[in-house]
Amino acid sequence: MCGICGRTLDPDGAAVAAMNRALRHRGPDDEGVYVDRASGLALGARRLSVIDVAGGHQPLSNEQADVWAVLNGEIYNHPSLRHHLRERGHRLATGTDTEVIVHLYEEYGDDLVHALEGMFAFALWDERRRRLLLGRDRFGEKPLFYAERSGALSFASELSALCRGGDVDGDLSAAAVDAFFVFGYVPGPAAILRGARQLPPGHVLTWEPGAKRAEVRGYWSPSSYAPRPAERRPELVAETRRLLEGSIRSRMIADVPLGVLLSGGVDSTLIAALAAQYSTTPIKTFTVGFDVGEVSETAMARATAQALGADHHEVVLTEGDVATRVPALLAGIDQPLADQALPALHAVAELARSEVTVTIGGEGADELFGGYPRYRWLARAARFERHLPPRLGAHGVRALNARAPAGRARRLSYLLDGRPLPERHLDWVTERRRELRPDLYGPRLAAEAGTQRALDDLTARVDGRLAASVSGALMHLDQVHWLPDDVLVKADRAGMLVSLEIRTPYLHRDLAEFAAGVAPDAHLAAGGKALLRAVLADVLPAACGRRPKTAFRVPAARWLRGPLAPTLAHQFAEGALYAEGWIDAGVARGLAAEHAAGRRDWSHVLWPLLALGLWLDRQRGLGGP
């Protein structure tokens, strides 16, 4: 794990050196810069040694020193790729996966991405052809931002580093800010800063000096779900287990203790149980809890760890911690992210880092194997609607909406209001935050308040799949939107901030393709994730029969009333978000007052405002309280 950067017009390597400095936290152990003086291109890398690989210094080249590469991430199948390359006469000088990329390029050209299994973002410079190739993994586990200006292109693992390359100014993109408010994250390929873009997951970018613009091409996308299962259930369960076991083995490192981020739910319990089977030493498990609210999650994790004979560790994120840690965390992340689970993940990552350098986590299981209840409920709603006179249904539901109290009842009322299903899906997750835009948006965002752009984009991603299967389409949507731009950003940044690598066994390419080949109904049986539950029943029968995991319950509403209230108040008074006219401080203050008084839970609005405000203040060089 590392950070990478580069610029096509940087003959003295100064821009890349500056970008490299900004990536220091991603790779504190080593740094390197390569400059092609003839063409003026420079590549940079910062490295964190996960395992002490000799010769892991980057950038790295082939024997002729005419193909250079930098890599952020892990190529899990690199041992077998190395074997095949040697068979074909390549001489590999180091034990690193970066070198594999260089030689695969010689063999397959841009199509080398099809040989890779892992989480990665890489850049490769072909000196002879004067051609730059950037590639990003299939699900977007590793970030890659880029910008083009006046024929030059710069790129970096993080947006804050990209800004040092000289091709991005600090201006916010109003459309991206609007999308952030609607979704709670910045959906790619846009970035929060104007002029910056993200290379989408499963895409490559090529750049040549003569061409006006870089060319961006997709090489893989999650395939849509099968309409009906092609095989019998025992075969599906057996195949799930085979693929998941293979994935976990490929993500373990021999003789290095493996950490598992254990939540108590099915996903992480299952990977912990399988990892424990293959680990020669007891696995180390890490769980986070809170000093308020429900504690059952940590109790379940503890029981699982005990059943597995794991070396178990827990951390409690107290309200006191929240007051000091959360503002710094939300401000310090490179693109704003309003996921309320970020502080908890950061805390457990920090705990894990005191014991291990690499952990595995359950990211992706809910999206691939049908874990979220909304898939089932929206499919039911769509079925129900077919039997209801449309106007009557919509009117009735709107009347119900207007009266429904917050929480579950309101959420249920979103199900049946006749809007396009992707919008209802979004409303379920965001509790209709977007409807507050006309009131909340200040003059800088006024033009965005009434737009449908973010929603149109969401609907476009579903791309005609709804007719085949509502739940399958929504699972697909989460895989291309929520997963790369929220879930995986959270995992990458939370890990990187403490120099911990989080590996994700559920996102093995073969497993993901298999999951999509199974009909959604087969996934959604038994309360969701039916195949994973069935494997778990085989591997660890004791863990079954527990309540299905619904969501990681974060006491955000309470935090916003308590430890974070002063930060919020300071934001309204002095934050750039309000001072620059993005958000109306008066309206926001009103919501905060209602929230503080306990009249209504506005945490789904106040949290994104806090995240965006703190991030913007750091961007502007303003300190918090």
């Binding site: 199948n77 790729l81 099809h114 090489y219 092609a230 075969e235 369960v237 393709e513 999509a516």
Partner: protein
């Protein structure tokens, strides 16, 4: 006594239904000149026309084997046919007909030969154990199947390895396509056949052989998913799903293609995979080099580095390299194909049927001897 011993063949798999087992049972019956055979099987589309012209003695149950009660009806019909036909031996073509075979054997005191492939042994281990226990001899179609049978409790001495055969094409026109063509022929109903791995390999093959086309013959429930996955990787221009095709068209593809592949792997969960893969021999018979997985029945069907190349069937890069190497080295491809054709000639169906006949006749001789001894 008849000059030719009577053998009742029980099978849920028989042409015109497509597939390797169907073909095997049919060819053995057709070439068993020293036996008088009656086949009891299930009905299906086109069966009437097939039987009218096949010249074989075939009795069919009105229900398909896939329907509820289909297998039960087949077993019941087998008992009735045994009474009418009065066989000297029973050949049970699948473990699902073992119950009827066992009953007939007990009631009529005649020997049973049980055919074993692979998949069914893993799918229904208890029925398979029953079938081999009650049979006087079992035929395993490969070393792999032999292992499965012995692991399931069969006495090794009673399990005979008789590899399947192949139809030799008329020695005529190999007309390879201009476009580099990879061919796979199989039903698209079992994941272990490895179409998924081949789809992952195809972009890497295309990187080295830009104009390549993969022709997928066969149909089944996995097809839609494979087609979607091909689109997800931008492979629309390099894959052609032609579905189930008549035999002559299938043979034409065998003459047109440059490499045959079916990278079957061992399925998950202890289930059994490719028993042998007659189609590998068929490809060889058409002088096609074969790329297959280095597990299961393919180890008997393909000779590594002589008639084809065996690779780790879960490694898409290994598969891609093996196929692209052959497409880019026509002289090596031709050499492997020629060796495949020579080997296929050793597996002509009459020779295979003779081995099965010898087994049956040997059992009958043994039975008669013991009867004579007892008299």
């Amino acid at each position: 006594m008849d000059p030719e011993p009577r053998v009742l063949v029980l099978t849920p798999d028989f042409p015109p239904a497509p597939g390797g087992i169907q073909l095997l049972v049919h060819r053995i019956v057709r070439h068993a000149d020293r036996l008088r055979v009656r086949v009891v099987t299930v009905d299906g589309p086109g069966a009437r026309r097939f039987d009218a012209t096949s010249g074989l003695d075939v009795r069919r149950v009105g229900l398909g084997a896939g329907q509820p009660l289909g297998v039960a009806a087949l077993n019941a019909r087998a008992l009735g046919e045994a009474v009418r036909f009065r066989p000297d031996a029973v050949l049970s073509g699948h473990i699902v007909t073992a119950p009827a075979a066992a009953l007939i054997a007990t009631a009529m005191r005649i020997p049973v030969v049980q055919y074993l492939y692979a998949r069914e042994v893993g799918d229904r281990p208890r029925l398979a154990a029953f079938a081999v226990r009650r049979a006087d001899a079992a035929v395993a179609i490969s070393a792999y199947t032999h292992e499965l049978a012995v692991a399931g409790g069969a006495q090794p001495a009673r399990v005979h390895r008789i590899l399947p055969g192949v139809d030799l094409p008329a020695r005529d026109t190999i007309q390879r396509a201009e476009r580099p063509t990879i061919l796979t022929i199989s039903r698209l109903s079992e994941r272990y056949k490895g179409h998924d791995v081949m789809l992952r390999a195809l972009p890497l093959i295309r990187a080295r052989v830009p104009d390549v086309e993969w022709v997928v013959v066969g149909d089944g429930p996995l097809r839609a998913g494979l087609e979607r996955a091909a689109v997800g990787q931008g492979l629309q221009g390099n894959v052609r799903f032609v579905g189930t095709v008549p035999d002559d068209e299938r043979d034409r593809w065998l003459r047109r293609a440059h490499v045959f592949t079916m990278p079957s792997r061992l399925p998950a969960g202890g289930l059994a995979g490719e028993g042998f893969g007659i189609v590998y021999l068929e490809a060889g018979a058409h002088e096609l080099p074969v790329v297959a997985g280095n597990v299961g029945g393919a180890l008997d069907a393909v000779v590594h580095d002589q008639t084809g190349v065996l690779v780790d069937p879960s490694d898409h890069v290994a598969l891609a390299n093996a196929i692209a190497d052959l497409l880019l080295d026509p002289s090596r491809a031709r050499a492997l194909g020629a060796a495949g054709a020579r080997r296929a000639r050793e597996f002509a169906w009459p020779a295979v049927a003779r081995r099965v006949e010898d087994l049956v006749l040997g059992l009958l001789a043994g039975t008669r001897t013991s009867v004579a001894d007892g008299a």
